[in-house]
């Protein structure tokens, strides 16, 4: 069973309606997805920490010292550029702003 199969099987179990709290259903879904992403980020952080500890053990040092290691100037510049690229990807819709085309609606039909 793949991880996607597991999620599909799990999603088939709950019953009943889902009460919403916010004025917009779309906003509530976005909040829920953000919260889930925060949870997945915690999972990723835990993995990074385990990897740091493994690397530190291989090097015969302490994980804390490994984490405290500063990037040299050249590496720091590369990381900065990568961070900017990632932020640009996140803000793509804002950076690539265009005039809005209304969605189909009764109001648009007049």
């Amino acid at each position: 069973m793949t991880s996607a199969d597991v999620m599909a099987a799990l999603a088939a179990l709950p019953r009943g309606e889902r009460p919403y709290s916010l004025d917009s259903l779309e906003a509530e879904m976005a909040v829920s997805m953000s919260l889930a992403l925060a949870g997945e980020l915690c999972v990723a952080f835990d993995r990074i920490r385990r990897l740091e500890e493994a690397v530190a053990r291989l090097e015969g040092g302490e994980a804390e010292a490994f984490r405290a290691r500063q990037a040299d100037p050249e590496e720091a510049a590369i990381r900065q550029a990568e961070a900017e690229a990632m932020i640009a990807r996140v803000l793509r819709l804002v950076l690539d702003a265009r005039p809005a085309l209304p969605r189909p609606s009764l109001a648009a039909l007049g």
Binding site: M1, S3, V6, M7, A9, L10, L13, P14, R15, G16, R18, P19, Y20, S21, L22, D23, E28, V31, S32, L35, A36, A38, G39, E40, C42, V43, D46, R47, R50
Partner: protein
């Protein structure tokens, strides 16, 4: 025996990522409970109630109006959305290893429930008519509900209940040493004369964690647990076998217990009162009286939700769980005099007590009573 986070063969196998995901949800719920929940009353006063007054020209008065006023506060709406989402995330976090381990858990159930040297027993009743509300609702949002039963080896309901319950408790600030049965045993043993039960019944035993604890703590007693969910009971039975404690589990309705009169000298329930209707609860109290031997004790423990001590605004704030966490009888339990049910059942001296938690802030509410030694009320 530790009740929370106990290792046994029925638990789903977790990966490090599963554990990280569960810890993230615990952390999220701890922040929501300790940092945000307490602000809701402030948001009601500063945002909700003023907006209600602006719209209607008066203060909210009824339960429904106060509830509507709460939801006029944008901060309350956001807390509510986050809290609901966190509860769904809890079931996802425990559900992933449960679904992934379903074949292994079914195999463990088969091995433990058919072992020639098993200590306890399991009596299922496929003809049991279950209380419709509980049967049809995913109480606490547990996927599939307490009565999830997809075949004769389905133990998922028990796995959800135990692993989800642990996370729920930890998210409220509880530690791994927390135990409702532990609180009850400590209270019972502190009574004058202590307690040495020979036959114990737990009503609404769910995944059997407390039942197994009673069996381990009172090794000379015969311990029975009843619940209406077959999936819960299969899991509870195999869990007890894995832990090496003898428990006899039965599929029964709490208000219609098929045991002879005076069968037990200790009858307990844990967090059951808020899960059942008033009618079932009153029937259960009558059954408790009938089933206790003269001189026997009963203790029913639950959450400290006594709405008569709250203002309307506080009561509505505590009622969030009804709609958003599928707790159909939350208000019924909180508003009704459950101690009076024991009195009406025949117990002459019913006490309401607080059981301090073992490894968590606060205490549990409990009603306790003793059946008179000379009682001839058995029906």
């Amino acid at each position: 025996m530790r009740v929370r986070d106990t290792r046994h063969d029925m638990l789903p196998k977790t990966t490090p990522d599963d554990v990280s995901r569960q810890q993230a949800v615990v952390a999220l719920r701890r922040v929501l409970n300790s940092k945000l929940y307490g602000r809701n009353s402030v948001y009601y006063e500063t945002e909700g109630a003023p907006q209600f007054a602006a719209a209607t020209g008066r203060a909210p008065q009824s339960f429904g109006e106060v509830e509507a006023a709460y939801f006029m506060s944008p901060h309350y709406r956001m807390w509510s959305a986050l809290n609901r989402s966190a509860q769904e995330m809890l079931w996802t976090a425990v559900g992933i290893p449960i679904v992934r381990s379903s074949e292994e858990m079914a195999a463990a159930y088969e091995r433990l429930s058919t072992a020639p040297d098993r200590l306890g027993a399991l009596h299922l009743n496929g003809d049991l008519v279950k209380e419709a509300t509980i049967d049809r609702v995913d109480v606490h949002l547990q996927p599939g509900g307490y009565t999830l039963d997809r075949g004769d080896h389905d133990v998922a309901a028990g796995a959800f209940y135990e692993t989800g319950g642990n996370m729920y408790s930890f998210g409220l600030g509880g530690g791994k040493g927390d135990s409702k049965s532990g609180c009850a045993i400590r209270w019972l043993e502190a009574r004058a004369g202590g307690v040495q039960p020979r036959r114990i019944l737990e009503i609404g035993c769910s995944a059997g964690a407390a039942t197994a604890h009673y069996a381990a703590h009172f090794p000379d007693a015969e311990v029975h647990g009843v619940d209406m969910g077959a999936g819960l009971l299969r899991y509870a039975h195999a869990r007890a076998e894995s832990l090496g404690v003898p428990v006899i589990f039965h599929q029964m309705d709490a208000g219609d217990l098929k045991f002879p009169d005076q069968s037990f000298d200790l009858i307990v329930s844990h967090n059951l009162l808020h899960e059942i209707s008033g009618n079932t609860r009153r029937a259960m109290m009558r059954e408790t009286f009938r089933l206790l031997a003269p001189g026997g004790l009963t203790l029913h423990q639950d959450v400290p939700l006594r709405l008569e001590t709250n203002s309307l605004v506080e009561a509505v704030g505590k009622a969030w769980d009804v709609r958003f966490n599928n707790e159909p009888y939350w208000l019924t339990y909180g508003a009704e005099n459950v101690a009076a049910d024991l009195t009406a059942a025949g117990f002459p001296d019913v006490k309401e007590v607080t059981l301090p938690k073992l490894d968590a802030p606060g205490g549990w509410y409990a009603i306790v009573a003793e059946k008179p030694a000379s009682s001839d009320h058995a029906s």
